[in-house]
Amino acid sequence: MTNFDYPEDILQSLDDYNIDIRDFMPGHGSGAKLLLNFNKISGIEQGDGIILKGREIPNGIVADIVIKEGTIVEEPVHLCFGVNKETGVQEIFPRIIAEDNTDVKVQAHCSFPKANGLIHKMFGHFYIGNNCNFTYSETHYHGENSGALVSPVGYMYVGENSVFENNFNLTKGTPGKVKIMLDIYAMKNSVIRSNIRAFGKNKNDSVRIRDAIYLEGENARSVLKMKAAARDGGEVLMYGITEGNAPHCNGHVECSEIVLGRGSICRARPFIRATDPTSSVSHEASLGRFPQKWLDELQAKGLTEKEATEILIEAMLKE
């Protein structure tokens, strides 16, 4: 596909998420990018107003990304953390700073197509300044053998009047063992939208995601949507937390999970807590099967129940 030396099957997994492979290739477009092949940096490109540095360490890298004050980035910053081996350990330490008045999208992709005992860890720190518009989207592909052990941890600080959108997608391939922890701290007048989607597909898949939003600033607002499906013995736990700790802050947690086939387990734990009398935090959770009315409506268009369910899962997990 390119004359760039990067494993083809890692790139292919981008395609499965409808992401244009060329956007990730050095020499294409003006977007800043960083490509990691196991624990080696394969490519790194800067962008206007963006400092992007990577330093190799024994089991991975430290990646520093700084968006300079006032920078409005037209093309997303692309990060690709790929491993084309069955086993090994990859540790990523991204440190992202978006200075005040910036507008940026970061598209990260973690791809482990041959994983069979592979360990991927991430310890991310995000600092988003005031008056920013920051979108972080992370897609994962862990191959078809349920052989990955993935445990990202992220701490995100969102400054005053900023909008932060977090999208995490683990819907293609088989997840393996996944344990994710995110803590997002929202300051005054900030808006947080966090969308988590995962699909456990067999008995070797176990996905546990804990996404916590702390509304620490006055009038901070958040919506946390966690959507999952588990089939053929797969297991998914979505633990959605929102705390209202400031005046007039407002948060909502929504967990929707679908169980398919015997032995599959979906668990949802929306946890809400309010410590300010003027705050408002709510939650809703639904588990099990899709509403019969939805199935009826699709079946009245000629679909079988199985086909209707597939369409609804695809819709639920759509980015």
Partner: protein, 265 residues
């Protein structure tokens, strides 16, 4: 007859009560046939039973579609044979685009794009503004109902069951919907229209009056409407509203006679 019901009774889900009792009527091909009756008379139950929803099964009687006994046929097969239903309050599903939703029921996949656009135009939605939107909460009630109509039109079924298509719509939108029904008829599809409103029903060629679970009469729609008014004791309403193409449907003597008949029963 395209659709025939023969002595059909429909029980509640727990089978303890009868909602629709021993009704028989037929729906002519290429017609608009209204099922009219007050709230709770069993209209929607009848619609769901004809469509074949799992929890709506006749305890007695037969349903024939296109000459075939479909009484025990599952919903998917009924849809494939040419019956579909536009719901009173269609679901809103995040992540499912309008174009994909409308395409679901299209058999002629090669021409799906053209059929989708045509269906959206029939319901007065501009394709370029709607194709990529989802059938989610961002659509208004009227928009969602139009998308539902577009989805059933694109299927090109033989019979469309419209369950209370006017519910929750304002007068102007309702008028627009009446025009849409006529466009559907021109496309040679038969409509079974479930409604409790006379102004909506007046678009129908024929009607069946459902009253407390029983089919009181099946005839040309205005006659059915007079009987409905007589049963409900709405004489003035009947005189004031039964017009077709600006002409009074019946003279006062006829209305008086029907009301007398009804009160003597």
């Amino acid at each position: 007859m395209l659709l025939e019901l023969e002595n059909v009774s429909i029980p509640t889900i727990d089978q303890k009560h009868i909602i629709v009792n021993n009704i028989s009527f037929g729906v002519k091909e290429s017609s608009i046939h209204a099922i009219i009756g007050p709230n709770g008379s069993g209209k929607s139950t009848l619609a769901y039973t004809i469509m074949g929803l799992k929890t709506y099964k006749p305890s007695e009687g037969k349903i024939y579609f296109d000459g075939i006994d479909i009484t025990d046929m599952p919903i998917t097969e009924r849809a494939k044979s040419g019956i579909t239903l536009a719901w009173q309050e269609p679901a809103r599903i995040e992540g499912l685009s309008i174009s994909k939703y409308i395409a679901l029921g299209i058999k002629d996949k090669k021409n799906a794009e053209a059929l989708i656009k045509e269906a959206l135009e029939v319901v007065n939605l501009e394709p370029e503004l709607y194709l990529q939107r989802d059938i989610d909460d961002t659509l208004s009630g009227g928009e969602r109902k139009r998308v539902e109509l577009a989805a059933v039109i694109a299927m090109r079924p033989k019979l469309i069951i419209l369950d209370e298509p006017d519910s929750g719509l304002d007068v102007i939108v309702t008028e627009d919907f009446l025009n849409i029904f006529n466009k559907i008829k021109i496309l040679n599809m038969t409509i079974l229209l479930i409604t409790h409103r006379e102004d909506i029903g007046m678009v129908a060629d024929y009607g069946t009056l459902l009253w407390r679970g029983e089919a009181v009469m099946t005839d040309k729609f205005p006659k059915v409407m007079v009987r409905y008014c007589a049963k409900a004791g709405l004489k003035e309403f009947c005189r004031r509203t039964l017009f077709k193409n600006g002409e009074k449907c019946f003279d006062d003597d006829y209305i008086e006679r029907i009301f007398r008949e009804e009160s003597s029963q």
